[in-house]
């Protein structure tokens, strides 16, 4: 396990900076801070909802996702990729 898994905090962008419209299995997200629209699908909405603005470590996030959403494929590697994508969009920040 990467040592950063237990120390780095991940946070969702401020809630008031997001406008989310659920279309079908996809949700359209307008990020007011960047002016960029993202089209997201599972597990991205679940990750955003779970992280919240308070933030949590990747280990904690994985546990919560497995518990709350029974995500069968919630292994650490997949989660890392999804999180990195969300960080690249600015919807999640790393501190």
């Amino acid at each position: 396990m990467d040592p950063a898994d237990d120390t780095v905090l991940y946070r969702m962008a401020r809630a008031e900076s997001l406008s989310i419209v659920h279309l079908d299995s996809f949700a359209a997200v307008y990020h007011r801070a960047s002016g960029i629209t993202h089209l997201i699908t599972a597990p991205a909405p679940e990750i955003l909802a779970t992280l919240g603005e308070a933030g949590m470590t990747r280990v904690a996030l994985l546990e919560r996702l497995a518990r709350d959403y029974a995500l069968g494929d919630a292994d650490a590697e997949v989660l890392r990729e999804r999180l990195d994508e969300l960080v690249a969009t600015g919807l999640v920040s790393r501190a």
């Binding site: 406008s19 419209v21 279309l23 996809f26 359209a28 002016g35 960029i36 629209t37 089209l39």
Partner: protein, 286 residues
């Protein structure tokens, strides 16, 4: 500039300046029934000019300029000056329009409700719009649909309908000769002929309509139809819009409202008769 023509198309005003008389004379004829820009202040300026002074007379070629330009836009021969003017006006809309969400689509209206047809070039949206306008529909536009973020209504942009290649004969078979502009051969898009919208489309062009159905037509296939999911419509319409990003949250709100409230269908058709029948069937079932 030496020669000038101003015109309002739907809610948008243009001023076209030209180094030559000929394109302006053609615009004056074909847009003769259109009003002038509101308050005589156009939204956009288009310039048709010679790259070098001697190119006004010697192998004259028309450069397209204006408020907004593409550096790579190649000049056209003077005989295609009308096309240059139309391309210049389209370019201003594509690059400069900030009031309405611009969708690359044709629109027709019946009973205050609008049918939006969009898809890649060659899918026949211009031809379909022209044919439907000859069957009791109001032509709102063959190139751009203007979605108003404030109201969710569609505004008309009934410029001259740009018919290409085989579709020229298809429409000419049903419409009077005086509805057509000059035949422009050998253009970068092949043979082009402009079709003038009817008087009703012009006199009612400032009246918006409520979007009621979105169609994605595809020409050249056996007749078929399917529903299109809101997320697919959303993606396809962002790709069919030149100013979605520039409009920011207004664009997002307008588009999510459209795709969550208006049904969308994809239709395939082998010929125009089948296309008209499929459009009418989809409209009846909306």
């Amino acid at each position: 500039m030496k020669h000038v023509f101003s015109v309002a198309i739907g809610p948008v005003g243009f001023r076209i300046g030209s180094d030559w008389r000929a394109p302006i004379a053609q615009l004056e004829t074909l847009y003769g029934a259109y009003p002038k820009p509101a308050g005589d202040v156009p939204d956009f300026t288009v310039r048709l000019f010679a790259a070098r002074p001697w190119r006004r007379v010697l192998r004259p070629s028309v450069m397209i300029g204006g408020d907004f330009v593409l550096p790579e836009a190649a000049p056209l021969p003077l005989a295609q000056g009308l096309l240059a003017a139309e391309m210049g006006m389209n370019l201003q809309m594509a690059l400069g329009q900030r009031r309405y969400l611009l969708l690359h689509a044709s629109v027709v209206e019946r009973d205050g409700e609008a049918l939006v047809m969009t898809g890649v070039s060659g899918a026949g949206k211009s031809t379909l719009a022209a044919l439907l306008s000859l069957r009791g529909w109001r032509l709102m536009g063959d190139e751009f649909a203007l979605l108003d973020p404030e109201t969710g209504q569609l505004y008309a942009f009934p410029r001259l309908v740009s018919l290409k290649n085989a579709s020229i004969a298809t429409v000419a078979a049903e419409a009077a000769e005086d509805r057509f502009g000059p035949l422009l051969e050998g253009t970068p898009k092949g043979t082009i002929r402009h079709f003038v919208p009817d008087a009703q489309a012009i006199t009612t062009m400032t009246q918006p309509a409520c979007p009621a159905l979105i169609l994605f037509p595809s020409f050249g296939f056996e007749p078929a139809a399917r529903d299109v999911s809101p997320s697919e419509v959303f993606v396809r319409l962002t790709q069919a819009s030149t100013n979605y990003v520039a409009l920011g949250e207004r664009g997002f709100d307008a588009l999510t409202r459209l795709v969550t409230s208006v049904p969308a269908r994809a239709i395939d058709y082998p010929d125009t008769a089948s296309a008209i029948a499929q459009v009418e069937a989809a409209w009846a079932a909306r």
